[in-house]
């Protein structure tokens, strides 16, 4: 093997990747009558785990209860859970095919790894909270609701970009 084969292949053109993504979303609408999602699957997983540890606690909490279903089958038997499992597999496949599998930390040159990981944790937590307040994340709200001209999704989308651009300056050292 020479070095060319080892190096990661370039990313696809964003418009063409976006077109592919749009067709996947369209297929979901046509086949299932629903769009894509991500955060919902993790919420189901969290609710199931809490229910395992403390059943009454989970059942008394309206938030968990909504994700636990009626108890007739495991709450993990859920459309979004299977979809997100697919996301992991699809991402992995694409990564392998493009030689992009690499244990690394994504960061700019002006920040150390520990700080980057702390920020990743904080950002993840904020996203978890925000997604539940907004009833969806970038997949469930912005992509899905956006293409259905959903009022709340467009308000949400504008606010995601607005919020991000508003604070980007303060976190510039992390990325550039």
């Amino acid at each position: 093997m020479n070095s060319v084969e080892h190096s990661a292949k370039p990313y696809w053109n964003p418009y063409l990747s976006g077109f592919g993504l749009g067709l996947v979303l369209l297929a979901s609408f046509v086949i299932m009558g629903r769009g894509l999602g991500a955060s919902g699957a993790f919420t189901t997983a969290v609710a199931t785990a809490v229910h395992q540890v403390a059943p009454t606690h989970a059942e008394n909490n309206a938030f968990y209860a909504e994700y636990l279903g009626d108890g007739s089958r495991s709450p993990l038997k859920d459309w979004l859970v299977f979809e997100v499992l697919g996301v992991f597999v699809g991402g992995f496949l694409s990564g392998v095919l493009a030689n992009r599998l690499k244990l690394t930390v994504e960061k700019g040159p002006r920040i150390g790894k520990p700080w980057r990981l702390i920020f990743a944790f904080i950002g993840g937590a904020l996203m978890g909270i925000g997604a539940k307040i907004a009833l969806g994340c970038t997949s469930g709200q912005a992509l899905t609701g956006g293409s259905l001209l959903n009022v709340g999704s467009w308000a949400f989308m504008m606010c995601v970009f607005g919020g991000a651009y508003a604070v980007a300056y303060f976190f510039r050292k992390q990325w550039i």
Binding site: P14, G33, I133, Q141
Partner: protein, 421 residues
């Protein structure tokens, strides 16, 4: 073709999980292809260095949007059956801002973090752990903030309804806006990020040759233009009624269900139908068929149930149910049935079946079991059914009676899990 396939019952839950997995693979694949496994590439969006997030997101949105529009307009798809997350304006604004801040700090959104983690990015894995912590934290404080979670509800509403503009016009406007934003993005990448656009994958870079990207843009613009002139994609409440067809079906009696049939279904514990009781709340409280829901006639709006759900209507003698049948058929519901003879038939034939000389012993035995299951009593010939319904009718919940079959009949309709993200 009648899409969405799942909502028309073309396949069941188990198959839907396989489809979910396959769709997920496509989703993850294209996210990774676009480079969204890299937090650095994603975050570059907010420093105008690399506006891939905007380009990928809006290309996906306008592709799916025009696709859904065209399929609906061609009559291949019923857009009113596609789930629309209800709008709660204030929570969605607050949540959106929080997500934006989290995006810059964390570098990912939930979907992209999966792709990032699985391709070896440690920050992506840590992000996922953070997200789970955030979900857990939110869930624990939820009981205290519950009252604010559903503020400013606006229902399931599209921009077209909100602004009272034609749906197609908005589709066209969004396509134009996106294409404009792409050109602005390429310009910004050049000016701020100093990135020379790659002529093969760009709108604005010279030479002016026809590239796949430009063909795609023209295709989307054309689809948007069709939307501008082709009208509203929603059917349902706007459906035109074929009165002749309606009259034939109403006359044929094909849309009615016999009480014995319904009793069997309830005993078997089937829950693939919605039993709607149209009587007053007082009558409903006094007695109703197990699993029935009390819905007054005025509440039968186009969104009271999914259009493809099997609905069985019952009322005292069937007249109210017949009115409701026409109403729902006109609103585009696909399978609406009348309970033949209404509650009166149910009472005479299921709860208090009469034995006459001509009744076969085996048949009556079966009738007795059914009557017992629903808490009624069979009548010998000559004795009339009790005059006062209120006194004689059994309690609402059927007693535990394993005589006929498993007590699944007493089971309430399973609570549907939420469909959104």
């Amino acid at each position: 073709m009648s899409a969405p396939f799942y909502k028309f019952g073309l396949f069941g839950d188990e198959a839907s999980f396989i489809i979910a997995f396959v769709i997920g693979i496509g989703f993850g694949f294209f996210l990774e292809r676009a480079g969204f496994g890299s937090g650095r590439k994603l975050a570059a969006q907010f420093y105008f260095r690399d506006l891939s997030v905007l380009k990928v997101m809006f290309t996906a949105i306008i592709t799916a949007m025009t696709g859904v529009y065209l399929l609906s307009r061609l009559g291949m798809m019923d857009l009113s059956l596609v789930y629309l997350v209800p709008t709660f304006l204030v929570p969605q604004i607050v949540g959106g801002l929080l997500l934006g801040v989290g995006f810059v700090i964390g570098g990912y959104c939930p979907g992209t973090s999966c792709v990032s983690a699985v391709t070896g990015r440690i920050d992506g894995m840590v992000y996922l752990v953070g997200m789970i912590a955030g979900l857990l934290g939110f869930a624990e404080v939820y009981p205290y903030v519950q009252n604010y979670a559903h503020m400013t509800p606006m229902g399931q509403i599209t921009l077209a309804k909100l602004f009272n503009l034609p749906y197609g016009l908005l589709v066209f406007a969004v396509v134009l806006m996106a294409l404009g934003a792409f050109m602005a993005a390429e310009w910004a990448e050049k000016k701020v990020g100093g990135k020379e656009p790659d002529p093969k994958g760009s709108f604005i870079a010279r030479p002016w040759r026809l590239t796949p990207v430009r063909i795609l843009a023209m295709g989307l613009a054309a689809a948007g233009f069709v939307a501008l002139v082709a009208g509203d994609p929603y059917r349902g409440s706007h459906a035109t009624i074929d009165t002749k067809d309606l009259a034939i079906r109403a006359g044929s009696g094909a849309d009615s269900i016999q009480v014995g049939q319904l009793a069997d279904w309830i005993i078997q514990g089937r829950n693939d139908f919605k039993l709607v009781d149209l009587r007053s709340g007082t009558d409903f409280a006094a007695y109703h068929i197990p699993t029935a829901e009390n819905v007054p006639l005025a509440s039968l709006t186009p969104d009271f149930a999914a259009h493809n759900e099997k609905i069985i209507l019952c009322s005292e003698d069937g007249t109210q149910a017949a009115k409701a049948w026409f109403l729902l058929e006109a609103q585009g519901f696909k399978s609406v049935y009348l309970l033949d003879g209404g509650l009166r038939s149910w009472q005479d034939m299921i709860l208090f079946p009469k034995k006459s000389d001509k009744t076969d012993e085996a048949v009556f035995d079966r009738q007795m079991q059914v009557a017992k299951f629903f808490g009624g009593t069979p009548q010998a010939e000559g004795t009339s059914a009790p005059a006062s319904v209120a006194v004689a009718l059994p309690q609402v919940a059927p007693p535990a009676q394993p005589a006929v079959s498993e007590p699944a009949a007493a089971k309430v309709q399973p609570k549907k899990k939420k469909e959104g993200c």
